[in-house]
Assembly symmetry: C2
Homo-oligomer: 163 residues x 2
Amino acid sequence: MTDKRDEAETNDIPPSALALDQQLCFAVYSAAHAFNRTYKPLLDAYGLTYPQYIVLMTLWEEDGRTVKALGETLGLDSGTLSPLLKRLEAAGHIRRARDKADERQVLITLTDKGKAMQDAAIGILKGIRQATGCTVENLQALTGELQQLSARLEAAARHDTAA
Amino acid sequence: MTDKRDEAETNDIPPSALALDQQLCFAVYSAAHAFNRTYKPLLDAYGLTYPQYIVLMTLWEEDGRTVKALGETLGLDSGTLSPLLKRLEAAGHIRRARDKADERQVLITLTDKGKAMQDAAIGILKGIRQATGCTVENLQALTGELQQLSARLEAAARHDTAA
DNA sequence: CAAAATTAGATTGTGCGCAATATAATTTTG
DNA sequence: CAAAATTATATTGCGCACAATCTAATTTTG
Protein backbone atom coordinates (compact mmCIF):
# COMPACT_ATOMS: atom_id res chain seq x y z
CA MET A 1 0.00 0.00 0.00
CA THR A 2 1.58 3.26 -1.10
CA ASP A 3 0.85 6.10 1.28
CA LYS A 4 -0.71 9.20 -0.20
CA ARG A 5 2.04 11.36 -1.69
CA ASP A 6 0.33 14.75 -1.83
CA GLU A 7 -1.24 15.02 -5.28
CA ALA A 8 -0.01 11.72 -6.64
CA GLU A 9 -3.18 9.92 -5.66
CA THR A 10 -5.37 12.24 -7.71
CA ASN A 11 -3.17 12.28 -10.80
CA ASP A 12 -3.45 8.79 -12.24
CA ILE A 13 -6.49 9.11 -14.47
CA PRO A 14 -7.29 6.01 -16.55
CA PRO A 15 -9.02 6.68 -19.92
CA SER A 16 -12.17 4.99 -18.60
CA ALA A 17 -12.50 7.76 -16.00
CA LEU A 18 -14.13 9.95 -18.66
CA ALA A 19 -17.06 7.53 -18.83
CA LEU A 20 -20.20 9.40 -17.90
CA ASP A 21 -21.52 6.76 -15.53
CA GLN A 22 -18.40 6.95 -13.38
CA GLN A 23 -18.61 10.66 -12.71
CA LEU A 24 -19.94 12.00 -9.44
CA CYS A 25 -20.87 15.31 -11.07
CA PHE A 26 -23.20 13.55 -13.49
CA ALA A 27 -24.67 11.38 -10.73
CA VAL A 28 -25.46 14.57 -8.78
CA TYR A 29 -26.81 16.32 -11.89
CA SER A 30 -29.07 13.35 -12.65
CA ALA A 31 -30.25 12.99 -9.06
CA ALA A 32 -31.20 16.67 -8.99
CA HIS A 33 -33.30 16.16 -12.12
CA ALA A 34 -34.81 13.01 -10.68
CA PHE A 35 -35.83 14.85 -7.51
CA ASN A 36 -37.28 17.67 -9.57
CA ARG A 37 -39.34 15.22 -11.62
CA THR A 38 -40.55 13.54 -8.44
CA TYR A 39 -41.52 16.83 -6.80
CA LYS A 40 -43.21 18.28 -9.87
CA PRO A 41 -46.55 16.42 -9.74
CA LEU A 42 -46.72 16.92 -5.96
CA LEU A 43 -46.04 20.67 -6.22
CA ASP A 44 -48.11 21.22 -9.38
CA ALA A 45 -51.17 20.58 -7.22
CA TYR A 46 -50.32 23.79 -5.36
CA GLY A 47 -49.04 25.75 -8.36
CA LEU A 48 -45.49 25.80 -6.97
CA THR A 49 -42.10 25.00 -8.46
CA TYR A 50 -39.33 23.37 -6.44
CA PRO A 51 -37.25 26.57 -6.08
CA GLN A 52 -40.38 28.43 -4.96
CA TYR A 53 -41.08 25.64 -2.48
CA ILE A 54 -37.64 25.83 -0.87
CA VAL A 55 -38.04 29.61 -0.54
CA LEU A 56 -41.23 28.95 1.43
CA MET A 57 -39.41 26.34 3.54
CA THR A 58 -36.73 28.89 4.35
CA LEU A 59 -39.41 31.35 5.44
CA TRP A 60 -41.14 28.73 7.60
CA GLU A 61 -37.91 28.45 9.53
CA GLU A 62 -37.58 32.21 9.88
CA ASP A 63 -40.09 34.67 8.49
CA GLY A 64 -39.39 38.27 7.53
CA ARG A 65 -36.01 37.74 5.89
CA THR A 66 -34.36 39.99 3.35
CA VAL A 67 -33.75 38.93 -0.24
CA LYS A 68 -30.05 38.82 0.54
CA ALA A 69 -30.55 36.51 3.53
CA LEU A 70 -32.68 34.17 1.41
CA GLY A 71 -30.02 34.21 -1.28
CA GLU A 72 -27.29 33.25 1.17
CA THR A 73 -29.31 30.40 2.63
CA LEU A 74 -30.24 29.02 -0.77
CA GLY A 75 -27.13 29.90 -2.74
CA LEU A 76 -29.09 32.02 -5.22
CA ASP A 77 -28.58 35.60 -6.34
CA SER A 78 -31.01 38.45 -6.94
CA GLY A 79 -31.21 37.67 -10.64
CA THR A 80 -32.89 34.41 -9.71
CA LEU A 81 -34.76 35.50 -6.59
CA SER A 82 -36.26 38.82 -7.70
CA PRO A 83 -38.55 37.38 -10.39
CA LEU A 84 -39.20 34.22 -8.37
CA LEU A 85 -40.35 36.28 -5.36
CA LYS A 86 -42.61 38.36 -7.60
CA ARG A 87 -44.28 35.18 -8.77
CA LEU A 88 -44.67 33.96 -5.18
CA GLU A 89 -46.20 37.32 -4.33
CA ALA A 90 -48.54 37.22 -7.33
CA ALA A 91 -49.65 33.74 -6.21
CA GLY A 92 -50.42 35.15 -2.75
CA HIS A 93 -47.86 33.19 -0.75
CA ILE A 94 -45.66 36.11 0.36
CA ARG A 95 -45.56 39.89 0.66
CA ARG A 96 -42.60 42.04 -0.36
CA ALA A 97 -42.01 45.37 1.41
CA ARG A 98 -39.09 47.76 1.61
CA ASP A 99 -37.52 47.95 5.06
CA LYS A 100 -38.45 51.32 6.60
CA ALA A 101 -35.13 51.44 8.46
CA ASP A 102 -33.03 50.66 5.39
CA GLU A 103 -34.84 51.19 2.12
CA ARG A 104 -32.27 49.21 0.16
CA GLN A 105 -33.60 46.03 1.72
CA VAL A 106 -36.79 44.19 0.81
CA LEU A 107 -38.36 42.16 3.59
CA ILE A 108 -40.17 38.99 2.57
CA THR A 109 -43.00 37.85 4.81
CA LEU A 110 -45.41 34.92 4.57
CA THR A 111 -49.11 35.47 4.02
CA ASP A 112 -51.66 33.19 5.70
CA LYS A 113 -51.74 31.21 2.48
CA GLY A 114 -47.97 30.88 2.54
CA LYS A 115 -48.03 29.71 6.14
CA ALA A 116 -50.82 27.24 5.41
CA MET A 117 -48.67 25.53 2.78
CA GLN A 118 -46.62 24.15 5.64
CA ASP A 119 -49.37 21.64 6.38
CA ALA A 120 -49.30 20.37 2.81
CA ALA A 121 -45.50 20.13 2.99
CA ILE A 122 -45.72 17.30 5.52
CA GLY A 123 -47.62 15.20 3.01
CA ILE A 124 -45.23 16.11 0.23
CA LEU A 125 -42.28 15.13 2.41
CA LYS A 126 -43.83 11.73 3.06
CA GLY A 127 -44.34 11.19 -0.65
CA ILE A 128 -40.74 12.07 -1.41
CA ARG A 129 -39.35 9.85 1.35
CA GLN A 130 -41.33 6.96 0.03
CA ALA A 131 -40.09 7.62 -3.51
CA THR A 132 -36.45 7.59 -2.39
CA GLY A 133 -36.92 4.15 -0.90
CA CYS A 134 -34.37 5.09 1.76
CA THR A 135 -34.45 4.66 5.50
CA VAL A 136 -34.25 7.85 7.55
CA GLU A 137 -30.70 6.93 8.62
CA ASN A 138 -29.71 6.37 5.01
CA LEU A 139 -31.17 9.75 4.02
CA GLN A 140 -29.32 11.53 6.81
CA ALA A 141 -25.99 9.90 5.95
CA LEU A 142 -26.23 10.76 2.25
CA THR A 143 -27.39 14.29 3.07
CA GLY A 144 -24.37 14.81 5.31
CA GLU A 145 -21.92 13.52 2.72
CA LEU A 146 -23.36 15.82 0.06
CA GLN A 147 -23.24 18.81 2.41
CA GLN A 148 -19.55 18.14 3.00
CA LEU A 149 -18.98 17.76 -0.73
CA SER A 150 -20.71 21.06 -1.49
CA ALA A 151 -18.71 22.80 1.20
CA ARG A 152 -15.43 21.53 -0.24
CA LEU A 153 -16.42 22.49 -3.80
CA GLU A 154 -17.45 25.99 -2.75
CA ALA A 155 -14.26 26.38 -0.74
CA ALA A 156 -12.16 25.34 -3.73
CA ALA A 157 -14.06 27.76 -5.99
CA ARG A 158 -13.55 30.56 -3.48
CA HIS A 159 -9.82 29.85 -3.33
CA ASP A 160 -9.37 29.86 -7.08
CA THR A 161 -11.35 33.06 -7.52
CA ALA A 162 -9.50 34.80 -4.71
CA ALA A 163 -6.04 33.76 -5.98
CA MET B 1 -36.05 -2.34 18.11
CA THR B 2 -39.38 -2.40 16.30
CA ASP B 3 -39.25 -4.20 12.98
CA LYS B 4 -40.36 -2.23 9.95
CA ARG B 5 -44.13 -2.40 9.71
CA ASP B 6 -44.66 -1.50 6.02
CA GLU B 7 -45.13 2.27 5.90
CA ALA B 8 -44.95 2.90 9.61
CA GLU B 9 -41.29 3.73 9.55
CA THR B 10 -41.75 6.49 6.99
CA ASN B 11 -44.78 8.05 8.63
CA ASP B 12 -43.45 9.57 11.83
CA ILE B 13 -42.35 12.98 10.61
CA PRO B 14 -41.18 15.33 13.36
CA PRO B 15 -41.75 19.07 12.71
CA SER B 16 -37.97 19.58 12.46
CA ALA B 17 -37.94 17.38 9.37
CA LEU B 18 -39.05 20.37 7.29
CA ALA B 19 -35.75 22.11 8.08
CA LEU B 20 -33.95 22.79 4.85
CA ASP B 21 -30.58 21.51 6.01
CA GLN B 22 -32.02 18.09 6.82
CA GLN B 23 -33.40 17.45 3.37
CA LEU B 24 -31.60 15.24 0.91
CA CYS B 25 -33.32 16.96 -2.02
CA PHE B 26 -31.83 20.29 -1.04
CA ALA B 27 -28.40 18.75 -0.44
CA VAL B 28 -28.53 17.30 -3.97
CA TYR B 29 -29.82 20.58 -5.41
CA SER B 30 -27.02 22.52 -3.70
CA ALA B 31 -24.33 20.02 -4.71
CA ALA B 32 -25.46 20.27 -8.34
CA HIS B 33 -25.07 24.06 -8.18
CA ALA B 34 -21.71 23.72 -6.44
CA PHE B 35 -20.46 21.40 -9.20
CA ASN B 36 -21.73 23.79 -11.85
CA ARG B 37 -19.93 26.69 -10.22
CA THR B 38 -16.74 24.63 -10.02
CA TYR B 39 -16.94 23.56 -13.66
CA LYS B 40 -17.82 26.98 -15.01
CA PRO B 41 -14.37 28.62 -14.96
CA LEU B 42 -12.77 25.43 -16.28
CA LEU B 43 -15.26 25.13 -19.16
CA ASP B 44 -15.46 28.87 -19.89
CA ALA B 45 -11.89 28.57 -21.19
CA TYR B 46 -13.29 26.38 -23.98
CA GLY B 47 -16.57 28.23 -24.45
CA LEU B 48 -18.59 25.26 -23.19
CA THR B 49 -21.36 24.89 -20.63
CA TYR B 50 -21.67 21.83 -18.40
CA PRO B 51 -24.65 20.35 -20.30
CA GLN B 52 -22.76 20.85 -23.57
CA TYR B 53 -19.73 19.18 -22.01
CA ILE B 54 -21.62 16.06 -20.97
CA VAL B 55 -23.07 15.80 -24.47
CA LEU B 56 -19.50 15.71 -25.79
CA MET B 57 -18.58 13.11 -23.16
CA THR B 58 -21.47 10.95 -24.33
CA LEU B 59 -20.25 11.23 -27.91
CA TRP B 60 -16.66 10.34 -26.91
CA GLU B 61 -18.03 7.07 -25.60
CA GLU B 62 -20.02 6.45 -28.78
CA ASP B 63 -20.02 8.78 -31.74
CA GLY B 64 -22.78 9.08 -34.33
CA ARG B 65 -25.74 8.86 -31.98
CA THR B 66 -29.23 10.15 -32.62
CA VAL B 67 -30.78 13.00 -30.66
CA LYS B 68 -33.10 10.50 -29.04
CA ALA B 69 -30.22 8.26 -27.93
CA LEU B 70 -28.43 11.25 -26.41
CA GLY B 71 -31.63 12.25 -24.66
CA GLU B 72 -32.07 8.81 -23.13
CA THR B 73 -28.50 8.68 -21.89
CA LEU B 74 -28.63 12.15 -20.39
CA GLY B 75 -32.26 12.28 -19.30
CA LEU B 76 -33.01 15.28 -21.50
CA ASP B 77 -35.69 15.85 -24.11
CA SER B 78 -35.60 17.45 -27.54
CA GLY B 79 -36.73 20.79 -26.16
CA THR B 80 -33.43 20.98 -24.31
CA LEU B 81 -31.20 19.17 -26.78
CA SER B 82 -32.27 20.71 -30.09
CA PRO B 83 -31.07 24.25 -29.31
CA LEU B 84 -28.07 22.97 -27.31
CA LEU B 85 -26.90 20.84 -30.25
CA LYS B 86 -27.29 23.80 -32.61
CA ARG B 87 -24.98 25.80 -30.36
CA LEU B 88 -22.46 22.94 -30.25
CA GLU B 89 -22.63 22.80 -34.06
CA ALA B 90 -22.21 26.59 -34.37
CA ALA B 91 -19.13 26.31 -32.12
CA GLY B 92 -17.71 23.65 -34.43
CA HIS B 93 -17.72 20.72 -31.99
CA ILE B 94 -20.30 18.53 -33.76
CA ARG B 95 -22.14 18.03 -37.04
CA ARG B 96 -25.89 17.35 -37.35
CA ALA B 97 -27.19 15.36 -40.31
CA ARG B 98 -30.46 13.62 -41.10
CA ASP B 99 -30.15 9.85 -41.31
CA LYS B 100 -30.49 8.82 -44.97
CA ALA B 101 -32.12 5.55 -43.94
CA ASP B 102 -34.68 7.21 -41.63
CA GLU B 103 -35.09 10.91 -42.25
CA ARG B 104 -36.87 11.44 -38.94
CA GLN B 105 -33.59 10.89 -37.14
CA VAL B 106 -30.72 13.35 -36.82
CA LEU B 107 -27.28 11.82 -36.35
CA ILE B 108 -24.81 13.75 -34.22
CA THR B 109 -21.12 13.26 -35.02
CA LEU B 110 -18.00 14.82 -33.54
CA THR B 111 -15.78 17.11 -35.59
CA ASP B 112 -12.00 17.02 -35.13
CA LYS B 113 -12.39 19.95 -32.76
CA GLY B 114 -15.00 18.05 -30.75
CA LYS B 115 -12.73 14.99 -30.56
CA ALA B 116 -9.78 17.13 -29.53
CA MET B 117 -11.68 18.44 -26.51
CA GLN B 118 -11.23 14.98 -25.01
CA ASP B 119 -7.58 15.83 -24.23
CA ALA B 120 -8.62 18.95 -22.34
CA ALA B 121 -11.21 16.91 -20.45
CA ILE B 122 -8.49 14.96 -18.65
CA GLY B 123 -7.17 18.18 -17.16
CA ILE B 124 -10.65 19.36 -16.24
CA LEU B 125 -11.34 16.03 -14.53
CA LYS B 126 -8.20 16.41 -12.44
CA GLY B 127 -9.22 19.90 -11.39
CA ILE B 128 -12.67 18.73 -10.37
CA ARG B 129 -11.34 15.75 -8.42
CA GLN B 130 -9.03 18.01 -6.52
CA ALA B 131 -11.87 20.43 -5.77
CA THR B 132 -14.02 17.62 -4.35
CA GLY B 133 -11.27 16.74 -1.88
CA CYS B 134 -12.43 13.13 -2.09
CA THR B 135 -10.45 9.95 -2.58
CA VAL B 136 -11.26 7.91 -5.68
CA GLU B 137 -12.92 5.27 -3.51
CA ASN B 138 -15.02 7.92 -1.80
CA LEU B 139 -16.09 9.36 -5.17
CA GLN B 140 -17.08 5.93 -6.46
CA ALA B 141 -19.09 5.09 -3.37
CA LEU B 142 -21.02 8.36 -3.43
CA THR B 143 -21.59 8.06 -7.17
CA GLY B 144 -23.04 4.59 -6.72
CA GLU B 145 -25.37 5.66 -3.95
CA LEU B 146 -26.68 8.57 -6.02
CA GLN B 147 -27.20 6.35 -9.04
CA GLN B 148 -29.30 4.01 -6.92
CA LEU B 149 -31.23 6.96 -5.52
CA SER B 150 -31.96 8.33 -9.01
CA ALA B 151 -33.08 4.92 -10.18
CA ARG B 152 -35.52 4.58 -7.26
CA LEU B 153 -36.89 8.10 -7.79
CA GLU B 154 -37.40 7.54 -11.51
CA ALA B 155 -39.02 4.18 -10.82
CA ALA B 156 -41.41 5.76 -8.31
CA ALA B 157 -42.26 8.55 -10.78
CA ARG B 158 -42.91 6.00 -13.51
CA HIS B 159 -45.22 4.01 -11.23
CA ASP B 160 -47.26 7.04 -10.22
CA THR B 161 -47.61 8.23 -13.81
CA ALA B 162 -48.55 4.79 -15.07
CA ALA B 163 -51.14 4.16 -12.33
C1' DC C 1 -52.11 0.20 -50.74
C1' DA C 2 -54.52 4.04 -48.12
C1' DA C 3 -55.90 5.70 -43.51
C1' DA C 4 -54.54 5.73 -38.78
C1' DA C 5 -51.17 5.50 -35.39
C1' DT C 6 -46.57 6.06 -34.01
C1' DT C 7 -42.08 8.13 -33.93
C1' DA C 8 -38.22 11.77 -34.22
C1' DG C 9 -37.21 16.42 -33.96
C1' DA C 10 -38.22 21.23 -33.79
C1' DT C 11 -40.71 25.11 -31.80
C1' DT C 12 -42.99 27.93 -28.24
C1' DG C 13 -43.73 29.47 -23.70
C1' DT C 14 -42.56 29.57 -18.77
C1' DG C 15 -39.35 29.34 -15.05
C1' DC C 16 -34.91 28.84 -13.13
C1' DG C 17 -29.70 30.26 -12.69
C1' DC C 18 -26.15 33.39 -13.26
C1' DA C 19 -23.05 37.14 -15.21
C1' DA C 20 -23.11 41.83 -16.09
C1' DT C 21 -25.07 46.03 -15.51
C1' DA C 22 -28.07 49.69 -13.53
C1' DT C 23 -30.21 52.29 -9.78
C1' DA C 24 -31.09 53.90 -5.47
C1' DA C 25 -30.02 54.06 -0.57
C1' DT C 26 -26.58 53.99 2.96
C1' DT C 27 -21.99 54.32 4.86
C1' DT C 28 -17.34 55.83 4.83
C1' DT C 29 -13.85 59.36 4.21
C1' DG C 30 -11.55 63.47 3.54
C1' DC D 1 -21.09 67.65 5.43
C1' DA D 2 -20.08 66.54 0.43
C1' DA D 3 -17.74 63.17 -2.58
C1' DA D 4 -16.55 58.40 -2.99
C1' DA D 5 -17.26 53.78 -1.95
C1' DT D 6 -20.29 50.22 -0.60
C1' DT D 7 -24.59 47.71 -0.31
C1' DA D 8 -29.28 45.82 -1.68
C1' DT D 9 -32.15 44.94 -5.14
C1' DA D 10 -33.74 45.04 -9.96
C1' DT D 11 -33.02 44.36 -14.92
C1' DT D 12 -31.16 42.28 -19.15
C1' DG D 13 -29.39 38.66 -21.80
C1' DC D 14 -28.14 33.93 -22.49
C1' DG D 15 -28.51 29.04 -21.68
C1' DC D 16 -30.65 25.17 -19.71
C1' DA D 17 -35.07 22.23 -18.56
C1' DC D 18 -39.48 20.76 -19.59
C1' DA D 19 -44.54 20.70 -20.98
C1' DA D 20 -47.26 21.27 -24.90
C1' DT D 21 -47.72 21.56 -29.59
C1' DC D 22 -46.40 21.05 -34.46
C1' DT D 23 -44.49 18.88 -38.68
C1' DA D 24 -42.70 15.38 -41.29
C1' DA D 25 -41.39 10.62 -41.83
C1' DT D 26 -42.26 5.86 -40.94
C1' DT D 27 -44.91 1.91 -39.45
C1' DT D 28 -49.11 -0.46 -38.58
C1' DT D 29 -53.72 -1.90 -39.83
C1' DG D 30 -57.75 -2.72 -42.19
